[in-house]
């Protein structure tokens, strides 16, 4: 039995197989406890109050920022901005940096496998500035080749926005190389780390990206807290995204001066207990260790892909190499719509995702309407994989074939 399962209240006393970890992960008890501790001992509005509880709340919030900065190897804590989630982080970059820097005729380079949250903000910037969107396309294995990267990123590029790990194919993109090419052409590079940060060690300095976004809830943390990392020199010259309380220095009837980074980008009362929960999640994840996370996921992915390969009607998308899936296995069963697949698997107490996974351009590229997706994490087990594979083998029967 998996030694970590006991830490997750939701996994106790149930036969439910949770294979939708790419959508959101489960939370260990220590995360809920840390948030309860915050709420029960020092809940107050951080950053402003001059009394003990508020000071403690501020400390807890800033400690969380420090731990988030350590997780992704940011050089300075103030390069970490707390947001609601990856989507908000990417919107912050698009509205603040994008609208103030991108000019008509320039290009914003994305990949066709981006999540909608790394497409729609750039469509908005392109519409408003007159810039053009350029899409990198992967080969059959899901890999962005060096040639594709070198040809599509040119001197016209103002922004290159790329997913670290695809939420559909599970493939890890060569973000370091992409950042190098982007910088060579004078563009800034935005990395969507929603699917990578929970699974692989992230070092934003080594990657060399200018911005990096991730969500707390995909990394054992609570929903409603996410992170945007940005290089300090860029954040300093960017205009605020949202304005109002907490983010000002001095306000008159007609104008205002803004607070320093990161407060400049954290308008309104912040999600302090969420940040505290995220910090507890990061500590827990570090305790498990990324070696263990990856080893477990890869072994389970291998077993799952080998199992699916024995069912002739199943097609798996992306690389044949389980190590290139980051725990994500997207598939279809011949003749069965993924929504029907998910519905009947639910009756077997198996949770998988079905649909377009917020990546319709990738679905169009793959030539499918929708797919089913099983996504694993380190608390999943071989027994669960075996039960899943056996159930998938019966789906066609349940659907009348």
């Amino acid at each position: 039995m998996n030694e970590f399962r006991k830490d997750f209240p939701i996994l106790q006393g149930t036969d439910t197989i949770y294979f939708d970890n790419a959508a959101t992960t489960q939370r260990p008890a220590c995360v809920m406890e840390a948030m309860t501790q915050f709420n029960n001992t020092c809940n107050a509005n951080p950053l402003r109050g001059l009394y003990t509880w508020s000071i403690q709340a501020t400390d807890a919030y800033e400690q969380a920022r420090h731990e988030a900065a350590l997780l992704i190897h940011a050089q300075k804590d103030c390069e970490v901005i707390f947001t609601r989630n990856t989507t908000e982080s990417l919107n912050l970059v698009a509205y603040s940096y994008g609208l103030s820097h991108v000019k008509a005729g320039q290009e914003i380079v994305l990949s066709v496998m981006e999540h909608h949250s790394n497409i729609l903000p750039w469509q908005m910037v392109a519409r408003q500035t007159g810039a053009k969107l350029v899409y990198l396309e992967p080969d059959a294995e899901g890999t962005l080749t060096k040639e594709e990267i070198e040809t599509k990123i040119t001197d016209r590029a103002a922004i290159v926005a790329i997913g670290h790990v695809s939420n559909v194919l599970g493939v890890t993109n060569p973000v370091q190389e992409i950042c190098e090419v982007a910088h060579r052409h004078g563009a800034v590079c935005v990395v969507d780390g929603a699917q990578s940060t929970p699974h692989i060690p992230v070092d934003v300095q080594k990657i060399g990206c200018d911005f990096f976004a991730f969500s707390g809830h995909k990394l054992l943390g609570p929903m409603g807290v996410g992170v945007l990392y940005g290089k300090l020199e860029l954040l300093e010259e960017m205009p605020p995204f949202l304005t109002g309380g907490e983010m000002i220095e001095y306000v008159t009837r007609e104008s205002a001066t803004f607070a320093e980074v990161p407060e400049k980008f954290e308008a309104g009362t912040v999600n302090a207990s969420g940040a505290v929960g995220l910090a507890a999640a990061i500590r827990y994840l570090n305790g498990v260790g990324f070696d263990t996370v990856q080893k477990t996921e890869q072994a389970l992915t291998k077993r799952l892909m080998e199992g699916l390969a024995t069912i002739p009607e199943v097609t798996v998308y992306g690389s044949e190499n389980p190590e290139k899936h980051c725990g994500i296995v997207t598939f279809n069963i011949e003749g069965c719509h993924p929504h029907d697949v998910a519905s009947v698997l639910d009756t077997e107490h198996i949770c998988i995702r079905a649909g377009h996974h917020c990546a319709q351009p990738l679905m169009q590229f793959l030539g499918v309407n929708a797919t089913a997706r099983a996504s694993l994490y380190f608390y999943n087990t071989e027994e669960e994989v075996d039960r899943f594979v056996a159930a998938v083998g019966k789906v066609r029967g349940w659907l009348g074939y």
């Binding site: 719509h337 029907d340 519905s343 009947v344 377009h356 319709q360 349940w398 009348g400």
Partner: protein, 170 residues
């Protein structure tokens, strides 16, 4: 009813061996109904004479629930007046929202079996696609005062976000 049983006893038959999945020779109106989020896509065809739906059929692709629901809907509306068809659509939508009366549910005949699956938030759109499309068609026919003949439907806009018709722009 357990979802698996529902598929086995009702949905699979209508999905794999539909009665009304074909093209009509002289439809009064054809309308494309789409659920962009799951790729359900049907072309619903109605043949109407003097306010009565003489024949109904569909073609397209999608999940078993969307296809089976469209097939059962055709069973329900053939031979009905436009107003009766609209009342059935209202009954079906009411069933999904949980506001339908027992009488309304009974009027739906076999289509009422989708009550359970239709309650699942992600499946509401699948189950209601045929009904939603039919409602739009009948309302247009009534608005334009068409009693027979051929109407070209082009009132579905292409959504800028997803390039698909009938998308509820999010």
């Amino acid at each position: 009813m357990d979802i698996k049983t529902l598929y086995r006893e009702i949905v699979n038959e209508h999905n794999l061996h539909p009665t009304h999945k074909h093209d009509l020779e002289h439809p009064t109106m054809v309308l494309n109904g789409v659920n962009p989020s799951c790729g359900d896509d049907i072309n619903l065809q109605l043949s109407v004479k003097d306010g009565v739906i003489e024949d109904a059929a569909f073609n397209g692709s999608g999940c078993a629930v969307s296809q089976a629901s469209a097939d059962m809907m055709c069973d329900d509306i053939i031979g009905k007046t436009e107003d009766e068809a609209l009342a059935l659509a209202e009954a079906f939508m009411g069933m999904i929202r949980g506001t339908a009366t027992q009488e309304q549910k009974e009027s739906l005949d076999e289509a009422a079996s989708l009550e359970d699956v239709a309650h699942m938030p992600a499946r509401v759109k699948c189950a209601s696609l045929g009904w939603r499309t039919m409602k739009e068609m009948v309302e247009k026919l009534q608005k334009d005062g068409v009693t027979q003949g051929r109407v070209t439907a082009n009132n579905s806009e292409v959504c800028g976000a997803c390039q698909r018709m009938d998308c509820e722009k999010k």
